[in-house]
Symmetry: C2
Subunit: 332 residues, 2 copies
DNA sequence: TTGTATGCGTTATCAC
DNA sequence: GTGATAACGCATACAA
């Protein structure tokens, strides 16, 4: 592979001059520039970005840590990030954290060792303290889907409580008064926020919150089915079921079908996240839109602005969810 | 950040010795090793992988080019790749090609410039010639989901024709004789192979292939709906519909529901790919399993073996699809 | 076993 | 406007 040195020899200029025409930061006379460009062309020269990084202390890469690489949610997020970064010639290094503390920490260290210029983290298992300490380090970080007061400017998050509120409100507004709820794992912050929104809506409606109508799921389809079965067998009545994510809603719908419980005439269901699946199942799932792709874009833009000083970009930290009306809720 | 130099000073040894204890390739006395390790610990030393790469001419990173970052298919693939590579401390740099020739080429150059040790490519738009020429370069490449005779040892692919054959055979075996087919875009190689398998099965069954029963879709849900509608409006009868991928099958099922055509009693449907969606829709979609996650693993293993000389790993180039029986086919 | 010296391909700070 | 030359942080051939 041709190096900058080869180019300089062929062009009959110094090594520094070649570097200059590449980086366009210093004036170079037109004719020497042409000589250099021609030499590059002839040699098929491609800069070695590793060497560039070492010398400039900039890797032009941003590390992204997600829980899983598969799944519709993270796909949309990474797609948003990549699209935004690509236009600025930055690139993405990915790692998976698997929602496990040790694994998440390893992933983060891994990315820092690669000298990423900044990190976009979607982490669930590490503590706030760890992240706060991390943010004091040399590598800027932006948090997606997590809100930490001390780090609020670098958090891109959804108002999960509002989402839980809106989901519940959608049921209340259509006349439902007996509401069941399938939540995510209790330790997750978004689980807590969504449930808090649920309670808030119930309170505002003058109803009383009944823990017997809540089932703790796992954000997986199976948890949804299980939750539906458990709730049906319990001695509680409900006409509406709020699921903390779409996958559990799909599982619940499946369980309902097996029990011959018609959706939505017998039980109305609403999901959360608006993953692509929601539009495919039958009846099409009414859900809460989680603009994760847009949030990925925003996280990338945050980095473009704060780490690469690109432009005076507008940053929006908090995103608001909205109800996507489809066919899984019926009036009562 | 502490450098190898800082460590050497604190440990009272030479710079080279520190490097040695890191790379474990040369013998170092136990006590000096301990001195070094302690110094590293004390300084919180983390090797600069950029500098390592420059000096060793190894980036320990493999570039992955996929068409899209979102979507269940690529997610599963990347997940397989990352899992396999992570265990060997290699990392993944991703780029998206968007099924566009120019974009795919840019992505590839981008990854090569980053001095990836090897590339895993899922490309559709670039020509065989381009890839053959590329393979002669310094960076090893492995192709996923593409078969090029000249490059066969570095291709990890599915027997798409067999898949098309099996899908059709599944219909024939349950008594169907009037088969409609919704294909992908004609220019794609997997489209062609799947259709070829379809024709082969028809031929073997002693039936005649009727182009009027084939609709060219786009591998998207909308293409499936459109295809179903077009086929229904045409003056052709069919009791079975073979879709070249699951998304189109889902679209077709949706169109069928709107036309009050019951699946599978009136029309049986089979998909292709076995994306996660197939298990969520109703009726659960019978389809052809595409072990893309496993193939991602294998591609990564190929690189571990050929580029990093890791172990005597077994490489399987061709994967065979299999029918996943669910609920969208009924006997006739 | 350990140390010295050189190179990897750039960028950047000086001079001129 | 252009050219030397010193970093950048590490690996490694060669000595000792």
């Amino acid at each position: 592979m041709a190096t900058i040195y080869d180019v300089s020899v062929l062009a009959g200029v110094s090594l520094a001059t070649v570097s200059r025409v590449m980086n366009k930061n210093t004036k170079v006379s037109e004719k020497t520039e042409k000589k250099v460009l021609d030499a590059m062309e002839e040699l098929g020269y491609r800069p070695n970005s590793i060497a560039q990084s070492l010398a400039s202390n900039r890797s032009n890469s941003v590390g992204v840590l997600v829980s899983e690489l598969h799944g519709p949610f993270y796909g949309a997020m990474m797609s948003g990030i990549e699209a935004e970064l690509r236009t600025s010639k930055k690139h993405v290094i990915i790692a998976a954290g698997h929602s496990d503390e040790q694994s998440e920490k390893e992933g983060i260290e891994f990315l820092i060792d690669r000298r990423c210029d900044a990190l976009i983290l979607h982490v669930e298992a590490v503590s706030d303290e760890y992240l706060i300490k991390l943010s004091k380090g040399a590598t800027p970080i932006v948090l997606i889907n997590r809100y930490i007061p001390e780090l609020k400017d670098s958090c891109i998050y959804l108002d999960n409580q509002l989402g839980g509120y809106l989901a519940t409100k959608a049921m209340l507004d259509t006349g439902h008064k007996e509401l069941a709820y399938i939540s995510g794992p209790a330790w997750k912050v978004d689980t807590q926020a969504r449930l808090a929104g649920h309670k808030q809506a119930i309170r505002e409606a003058g109803l009383t919150y009944n823990p017997a109508l809540v089932f703790e799921g796992d954000y997986l389809e199976t948890g949804g089915s299980e939750g539906f079965n458990v709730l049906m067998q319990a001695k509680v009545n409900f006409t509406a079921l709020i699921c903390a994510n779409d996958e559990m809603a799909a599982g619940a719908m499946d369980a309902a079908r097996q029990m011959q419980v018609d959706i939505p005439s017998k039980v109305s269901i609403i999901g959360f996240d608006n993953i692509i699946l929601a539009n495919y199942i039958h009846p099409k799932l009414t859900t809460i839109d989680y603009p994760i792709g847009e949030m990925g874009h925003m996280a990338a833009r945050w980095i473009l602005k704060n780490t690469y000083q690109n432009k005076p970009l507008e940053i929006k930290n908090m995103f608001e969810p909205a109800v996507v009306h489809r066919d899984s809720i019926s009036k009562i």
